[in-house]
Amino acid sequence: MKYSILLLSFTLLTMNLSCAQSTDNKIDTPTEVPFSTELIIDELQIPWGMAFLPDDSMLITEKSGELIHFKDGKKSTVSNVPAVYVRGQGGLLDIALHPDYKNNGWIYMSFSSEGGAEKGGNTTLVRAKLDNNSLTNSEVLYKATPNTTKGQHFGSRIVFDNEGYLYFSIGDRGDRDINPQDISRDGGKIYRLHDDGSIPEDNPFVSQEGAKKAIFSYGHRNPQGLIKNPVTGTIWEHEHGPQGGDEINIIEKGKNYGWPLVTYGINYSGTSITDSTEMKGTEQPIYYWVPSIAPSGMTFVTSDKYPDWKNNLLIGSLKFQYLERLVLKDNKVVKREKLMTDIGRVRDVRQAPNGYIYVAVEGKGIYKLIPN
């Protein structure tokens, strides 16, 4: 009896310890889905980001450096796009419209660029206007330094919050032991700027000597999902872990998200990066994936077109080539569902102003989800 009590308490204790995340990694594949898919734009290589213009046309970034304008069923290539440093994961990346685009016409884009003293490239944020299928008034708002010829982890997603602040992400640029934990260096950070590129006075590290003052949070590996939670107005992020340990985080001012001090992942070689999954002073993800799905693109569903999906998250999987639906309760994932099985590498997913969801798939194009 004494033994069994001991055993029971031990079992309960270990169960508690192993329950850092209440949902396990189970994913459901529904036999029936409430939508059909229509490939509305075909023959795209790596459609990285999408933006929806007020005239119902679309802008699509191709990683290779092309900006495509899709209007009235036809694709055209926008001219005067900044020169892009195409190497490894780098290229023309995200695109987002100013919240007041209708009045000011500003389009924001992130991409990897050369320029500067060192060889290689790093992530850059620009804004420009679209005039007669050409970009004009182009301004560089941020250019990360130093350049490097490393091919990984440029980030990068762009989002605006309700107050009009602009957030964008830059990955650790393949230097995990140097960049993410050092706020005097770029890389492995979420940045916050005013819409004109100036630095908000209440950014967390503005008064810290030597710090990059645009930094809003740090300790990130490679964030390729950055959106506003439409209910709370907070910024939600997801990032690629190493092998295992992709994360969803809620981004808070000045916080350290732990990479590479803590991670639920391991090195590609199978060796461990650290024994720690938790550490004082670092934030825990609200969800993590083991094994990695390689997440890219993310949206909250708010439209009435998909009534059963209200306030669910949709996230693309590059690695397993499907669209993941996550049901949330109190900022915890309570259900996962696999949609569009084997569709291809899902690079981006967005809900357009018309309420429909659009999914960008590598080697295919843009799919529209049409409710049944």
Binding site: Q45, R87, G88, S269, G270, Q321
Partner: protein
Amino acid sequence: MKLFFLTYIPSVVFLSIFIFQDKELEESIKRGADIYTDFCVNCHMSKGEGVTNTFPPLANSDYLLKKREESIRGIKYGQQGPIVVNGINYNGTMAPMGLADEEIADVMNYILHSWGNKSDKTVTPEEVAAISKE
């Protein structure tokens, strides 16, 4: 004596070229390993095993070993559309990596001499340079 020189000198020359090339290949493989870690490992994995049905394997890959030119072209210009590797169909997209010809030669030499793969002929930057988009 004449016979000695006639055989000795060519063999020294031959041997030194051989050893020199070997050293050069070794250096190239070493550089290629770094390129692999930077650009390839996410998808093709650390032992070149890939992910079945998604990312083709490089270890003991019939495609890599038999289609040298296509493999180099894939790294240089990107690869899109259906290919068959070890009897399994793959229909994915690999973006062009933006590597220099020398880097492509290095990473080819690395993957051609890793995980049980063997190749008699070293890939040179000149060989890579000569391969066009199709």
